[in-house]
Symmetry: C2
Subunit: 129 residues, 2 copies
DNA sequence: TGACTATATGAGCATCTGCGCATACGGTCA
DNA sequence: TGACCGTATGCGCAGATGCTCATATAGTCA
């Protein structure tokens, strides 16, 4: 008897808490930069650190949060840890909103969307490091 | 000479800041409840207060933040202030993510999406109070 | 005008969050 | 094994955020 027939209003609160946490993952500029860094192919922590221009500590913490939030997944290879996008829908969401914001800002000053690497996903082989 | 030819990487940071602020509006359970309260038709502050079950002070503050964030718009009628959704895209976003989260949670326990009033928008006349 | 209603806001508090320093943990290589 | 490299984490700090109480502001009505 652990299954209730229909959830009560109080459980709707639980849903909102989860949804809020979902959006919270994307509510930080640094995490958006990390998303951009890993959106095309998986990257090691060191590569991400270099890409976003933050300290290793900070990047590591954000990655841990994003991992808990289901945004990214990790894979260990020897001494390195590679992160990749785990929730394609979240990535789409992120991309769409970024594109819209850029478009809105372009009403003032023109900007190349490619600068943000927000162009539609192109399957790209792991770049020759 | 106030227009630059192409934005630099530093201005991409500005974009991310704006996008993060955009998501931050939706990153609070109470604001999601407010979104639900105003998603179908405009509501006065008092109605919203009753709908979400929070203090008038708190609701008013959240509404002010959402107004600054472009999520809602306000309209004064006499002694009352009516808030409505100002960014339909944000509302769609919110709805979609909520639906997905609910669906994901339904893998454990079935839930009626209607309980959250997240069903596709139906044009509904202002309800007879 | 004064009493009343609806909404907004200043002040203060508790908590959360992002950040950096130092260091721990885990793996590789000689 | 020990030196080294890459990643994660304990600790502490500073600023942001959410909440409440009391009060201010703005509008209505008698």
């Amino acid at each position: 008897m652990k299954r209730k027939p229909v959830r009560s209003a109080g459980e709707a609160d639980e849903v909102f808490a989860v949804v809020a946490a979902y959006f919270a993952v994307l509510a930080e500029p640094m995490r958006l930069k990390i998303m951009r860094a890993v959106c095309e192919d998986e990257r090691s922590v060191g590569e991400i650190v270099e890409a976003v221009g933050a300290t290793q500590t900070n990047v590591s913490r954000h990655l841990a949060l994003m991992l808990r939030g289901g945004a990214v997944a990790r894979r260990k290879v020897g001494n390195h840890v590679y992160y990749r996008v785990a929730d394609p829908t979240m990535m789409e969401l992120c991309r769409d909103v970024c594109m819209r914001i850029v478009a809105r800002m372009d009403e003032d000053e023109p900007m190349r969307a490619e600068l943000l690497h927000l162009t539609p996903r192109r399957t790209r082989a792991r770049r020759a490091a």
